[in-house]
């Protein structure tokens, strides 16, 4: 596949697409580092530990009904688990357009953040629960 310029990433939170209100997205795949260094070598040794995946999304804030704030606040306030899905493009998931999905929670949310004269944006981190972020091509 050709190199890709991100133009139409698909970002859905609890089944609701927000691509038109998102300016950046990051899929973080991470595992804890568990050190197993021992006397058999001259350097450190480590194995992978628990997953600690997350999505980081920068929303352009919108307080209208059924929009960014109206969607995110109940997820934060009700301590609800929900799905987040991200794809490189809005096309259906495929081998060249994988989708990354996870069951997430919202533990921190800044509904208002910004300087005078700036666009109201809010950066949100969605930590993935239990199984972490899954990659699928269909």
């Amino acid at each position: 596949m050709a190199k890709l310029v991100l133009r139409d990433c698909y970002i859905a939170v609890n089944g609701v697409p927000f691509s038109d209100h998102v300016s950046s997205v990051t899929v973080n795949l991470s595992k804890d580092e568990v050190e197993t260094t021992n006397f058999s070598g001259s350097g450190r040794e480590r194995v992978a530990g628990l997953k600690d995946d997350s999505f980081e999304v920068n929303f352009q804030q919108d307080y209208a009904a059924a929009n960014v704030d109206a969607t995110l606040y109940p997820l934060y306030n009700n301590e609800t688990e929900f799905t987040v899905e991200v794809r490189p493009t809005a096309a259906a998931a495929s081998v060249s357009n994988p989708k990354y999905t996870a069951t997430c929670v919202l533990l921190e949310y800044q509904p208002i953040s910004g300087d005078v004269g700036s666009l109201s944006e809010t950066s949100v981190k969605f930590p993935a629960q239990r199984t972490g972020i899954a990659r699928a091509t269909s």
């Binding site: 609890n14 089944g15 609701v16 697409p17 927000f18 009904a65 059924a66 929009n67 109206a70 969607t71 606040y73 109940p74 997820l75 009700n78 301590e79 609800t80 688990e81 929900f82 799905t83 069951t103």
Partner: protein
């Protein structure tokens, strides 16, 4: 409270720590229930557009959040869709 042997009563021994019962565990998402919903917000929800009625399998938390946000309302009936009645 009876002891482990059954006949002797349980006596707390000096130096033993009495542990509190396990704290309540955080609730995991309940099993999703399939119901009919009408999309009332301007955004599509799970691929359904405004005005459409769609059957979705949502957990209670997901449903509450979508209804509070103004994306969905339950369609006509509160009866779960897709469940067979007893005796059928």
């Amino acid at each position: 409270m009876s002891g482990l042997s059954g006949s002797q009563p349980y006596v707390s021994q000096p130096g033993y720590t009495t542990h509190a019962p396990p704290a309540a565990q955080p609730q995991r998402a309940a099993e999703p229930v399939k119901r009919a919903y009408k999309v009332v917000g301007p955004r599509e929800v799970f691929g359904a557009h405004k005005g459409e009625t769609v059957e979705l399998a949502l957990t209670e938390g997901e449903e509450t959040a979508l209804i509070e946000a103004g994306h969905l309302v339950r369609a006509n009936t509160n009866r779960p869709v897709g469940r067979e009645r007893k005796g059928n």
